[in-house]
């Protein structure tokens, strides 16, 4: 893997910001000691993380199947609140504390690519299984496996109405059921080849026909995937260059997914989106094409595609640009990490994420949240971000314990001296990348009145322009 030979804190910070949710105090130095290549290799082959397991142990419902969730809910409808609370909390805890940072970023990325919405009826009960069983195991595997798992997961079948997508039939002389295009369209537009691939309305209908009959056994009780042959349109189909003979039954959708997962348009669409997440808002076509070549050469091996990202000159060149604005989630989590916060409760942090415009699992449309950093810059989000930083440094974010004085001392600074405290935080958290203007402003806090100097300096630095980008 080609990694620049001249390594420095800025490059390590860049890597931690892009492949993860930003450095924790001291982590820039630690990764430099370990070696950037070694760190990347480790991230691409996630190992055990017993410390994280311990942190998640209190969330006893994370492993529940959809059937278990539904039976608890049916016995006492208050249980769903606890289950969803644990589910969303675990996302924040993982992002803030996991060793396998890249895995968490990829789970977030691919969940968002195959977005479902927690408030959408049955998805409240199945979203935990969706992320755990369909997305998480496949983010460093084959795209085809990921696509297959999400396409036929009950949460997706519900969200995109495929459980209602059936061959038109007559029952007692009346027409019942019929094609529902929602899933067929988004499978093409959002999940695989992309809206500009050149498919037609006829292709949308033919893709929808392939999907007929794939549904859910009982959305109120068991919530398992079920194929109903009687609901499947078993005629021949022509979808975007693929011919499927009649009588294919349950296999039609597999043929279609094989075709779409291997399609060059999918390689380009997925590569562009990855490049946008990890490299820049507007990645060059040449770069996207190179990634797509890796995708096609490796039959959609996402580990290889992800590895190619970190081996690219384009990725490392970004370390020396003005950076990519963080999303609301990235900002809140990276701020928790930078402050060295220990999370015992995530409620206030999740409120901040919502206020920054990105409530967890609550993106209603199937497009998912934007991967463009510029889309997250606005005065309201900026205000909420600054207030979160000021609150966190002052110890006013409940459930997020910080020791700013200790952090400054570890950096060799004096917590009661503004300029010394600012220099120490710059060293330990920012790899000495802060601008003179930012350091200078933080160094000018007054030493009397208001919260302690250390909290004010840290609050300002966590609210700084440098912290808004990754």
């Amino acid at each position: 893997m080609a990694v620049p030979q001249t390594l420095g804190p800025r490059v390590a910070q860049h890597l931690l910001n892009r492949a993860g949710y930003g450095p924790r105090p001291g982590q820039i130095a630690a990764v430099l000691d370990q070696g950037l290549t070694e760190w990347i290799e480790e991230q691409l082959a996630p190992g055990a993380d017993p410390e994280l397991d311990t942190r998640l142990r209190g969330f006893t419902t994370l492993g529940y199947s959809t059937s278990q969730v539904l039976s608890l809910y049916n016995a006492d409808n208050r249980t769903i609140g606890v289950i969803l609370d644990e589910f969303a909390s675990a996302k924040v805890v993982r992002a803030a504390h996991a060793r396998n940072q890249l895995q968490e970023v990829l789970v977030d990325f691919w969940f968002n690519h195959f977005n479902v919405f927690v408030q959408d009826g049955f998805d409240r009960y199945s979203i935990s299984s969706y992320e755990r069983d369909a997305v998480r195991p496949n983010v460093l595997g084959r795209f085809r496996d990921l696509l297959g798992a999400v396409t036929l997961h009950p949460a997706m079948l519900y969200y995109l109405d495929n459980y209602l997508n059936t061959a038109p039939r007559t029952q007692g002389g009346r027409a019942v059921g019929g094609i529902n295009e929602n899933h067929g369209r988004e499978l093409l537009e959002l999940h695989t080849v992309g809206v500009d691939a050149g498919y037609t309305q006829a292709d949308v209908i033919e893709a929808s026909r392939c999907l007929t009959g794939h549904g859910i056994d009982n959305v109120g009780a068991s919530g398992n995937y079920q194929y109903r042959p009687g609901n499947h349109d078993d005629g021949s189909k022509q979808v975007f260059g693929l011919s499927i003979g009649s009588g294919g039954g349950q296999g039609d959708v597999q043929r279609l997914l094989d075709h779409l997962a291997a399609h060059p348009a999918t390689a380009l669409f997925v590569s562009r989106k990855l490049a946008q997440r990890f490299v820049s808002d507007d990645p060059s076509e040449a770069f996207v094409t190179r990634l797509a070549d890796v995708f096609l050469r490796t039959a959609g091996d996402l580990r290889e595609v992800t590895k190619a990202l970190f081996g690219s000159a384009e990725f490392w060149a970004e370390a020396f640009t003005s950076g990519k604005p963080k999303t609301g989630f990235e900002y809140v989590v990276s701020t928790l990490r930078a402050a060295g916060a220990e999370l015992s409760n995530t409620r206030m942090s999740r409120t901040a994420i919502s206020d920054a415009g990105m409530p967890l699992y609550s993106c209603n449309p199937p497009t998912g949240y934007s991967n463009r950093g510029a889309d997250w810059l606005n005065p309201s989000a900026q205000l909420y971000r600054m207030n979160f930083a000021l609150d966190l440094a002052a110890g006013m974010v409940a459930g997020a314990q910080v020791d700013i004085r200790g952090l400054i001392r570890n950096g060799g600074g004096d917590p009661d001296s503004p300029s010394s405290a600012a220099e120490a935080i710059n060293r330990v958290v920012f790899g000495r990348t802060l601008s003179a203007a930012t350091l200078g402003a933080a160094g000018r806090v007054s030493t009397s009145g208001g919260p302690p100097v250390s909290a004010r300096v840290a609050g300002l630095l966590l609210a700084s322009p440098e912290m808004q980008v990754r």
Partner: protein
């Protein structure tokens, strides 16, 4: 495009025909002149995201094909249980829009039917992009149509354009400053006992950043200070806003109009269940009820100030004319807009009705679009901002449909 009344308005009820006849170019000029003596004029764009179904919003109950196509999700005729509210003897509005009936009757509310985008896309994302950039078929347009509109208005205050949304919306994308906010209450730095110092030092940091991050930071402080100087007044005239995105945003929008911080353009983003692929009847009730209540409250709250305001409610596309297999409808083409304002020439359903027979449907499935959305946008921008030059690159808007 030549003025053609038959193309611009269709009149079905004899009683309402008089209103339509009264609409003539001369009265348009009079109204425009009168408005010039009022306060600054404001355009509010409400976007129903997800493809709101125009056929159940403004119901063509006089078109028998409607009932054949819609089956179990049709809105019954006026006078029947759960029936549409008669507008003009041919169209009726969704029963949940009942709070808007008085506004329609006194001529401050109009519908425009069968509006659409000539570069038909049934992709939410593309159709939204085409409409908000104002350039159908071109996804590379760097600015939104409202950004181009407000760039024609003097001043660069951050509160000139306010978007109630979680992100900057495509319509306002571009160089003009925009205050994007979900809530304007408590819009201040939280730094007890050192607020002034925190603002000074953070401002110094952001002033030194030449990128969009720096600019955004400075606009944030400008917005904070503007809103601190002119806090949003509470609802007046007994107006009661419903909970939810439309109510919260329109309540704050009314506050901006009343408190005079120079706001000329407001964007209200409304999510919800408009993408009614299934269970459409219930989804429509859930969404249209708070929408109707919010718009009615907005009119009550503003009182006479509504004369300075035009609210334009739109979406990205309509839905299939026929019910699908799941008591819903799929992505379609033509949709309905709604316009509210003291100077809206309301009490009418505008546009040209294309009909719903199979041969009249677009691609045998969708309500065809007979009015280009850009004609309506330009017409409203002309009335509210005095802009006559086209806001739409490569397109010369027609005379419009006579909505203002």
């Amino acid at each position: 495009m030549p003025f053609d009344a038959s193309r611009r308005v269709f009149l079905r009820g004899a009683g309402l025909a008089a209103v339509g006849v009264g609409m003539a170019p001369s009265s348009l000029l009079v109204r425009t002149a009168l408005a010039a003596s009022g306060g600054p004029k404001v355009l509010v764009k409400v976007f129903l995201r997800g493809g709101a179904d125009g056929l159940n919003l403004c119901v063509p109950y006089g078109d028998s094909d409607y009932y054949n196509l819609r089956g179990g999700i049709a809105i019954p005729r006026p006078g029947q249980g759960g029936g549409a509210i008669n507008l003009d003897g041919y169209f009726g509005m969704h029963p949940e829009l009942l709070p808007l009936e008085p506004l329609f009757r006194d001529g401050r509310l109009a519908f425009v039917h069968a509006v659409g985008n000539p570069a038909v896309s049934r992709s939410h994302f593309d159709a939204q992009d085409f409409q908000e950039s104002g350039t159908p078929g071109n996804k590379q347009t760097p600015t939104g149509w409202l950004d181009r509109a407000i760039s024609e208005i003097p001043g660069r205050e951050v509160t000139q354009a306010v978007s109630f949304s979680s992100q900057l919306v495509r319509s306002l994308l571009g160089p003009e400053p925009v205050l994007v906010a979900q809530s304007l209450s408590s819009f201040d730095l939280r730094a007890r006992n050192w607020r002034a110092e925190a603002e000074t030092l953070l401002t110094a940091m952001y002033q030194a950043d030449p990128t969009q991050v720096g600019t955004n930071g400075l606009e944030t402080f400008e917005a904070i200070n503007t809103l601190l100087r002119a806090p949003t007044p509470p609802p007046a005239n007994g107006a009661s806003y419903p909970a939810g995105a439309a109510g919260n945003a329109l309540r704050q929008a009314a506050g901006l109009v009343k408190n005079g911080v120079g706001t000329r353009c407001v964007y209200v983003n409304v999510g919800g269940g408009f993408d009614t692929h299934s269970n459409q009847l219930q989804n429509n009730v859930n969404d249209y009820r708070p929408l109707g209540q919010a718009l009615a409250a907005f009119a009550t709250d503003l009182g006479g100030l509504l004369d300075d305001v035009v609210v334009l409610v739109t979406t990205e596309f309509g839905r299939t004319a026929a019910v699908n297999g799941a008591a819903g409808t799929d992505h379609g083409t033509g949709y309905a807009m709604l316009a509210l304002g003291g100077r809206v020439r309301g009490g009418r359903v505008l546009g040209r009705w294309p009909g719903l027979s199979r041969s009249q449907l677009f691609e045998s499935r969708d309500l065809a679009a007979t009015t280009d959305f850009r004609d309506v946008f330009q017409e409203v921008a002309r009335a509210q901002f005095g802009i006559s030059a086209s806001l739409f690159p490569g397109y010369t808007p027609g005379a419009g449909v006579g909505v203002v």
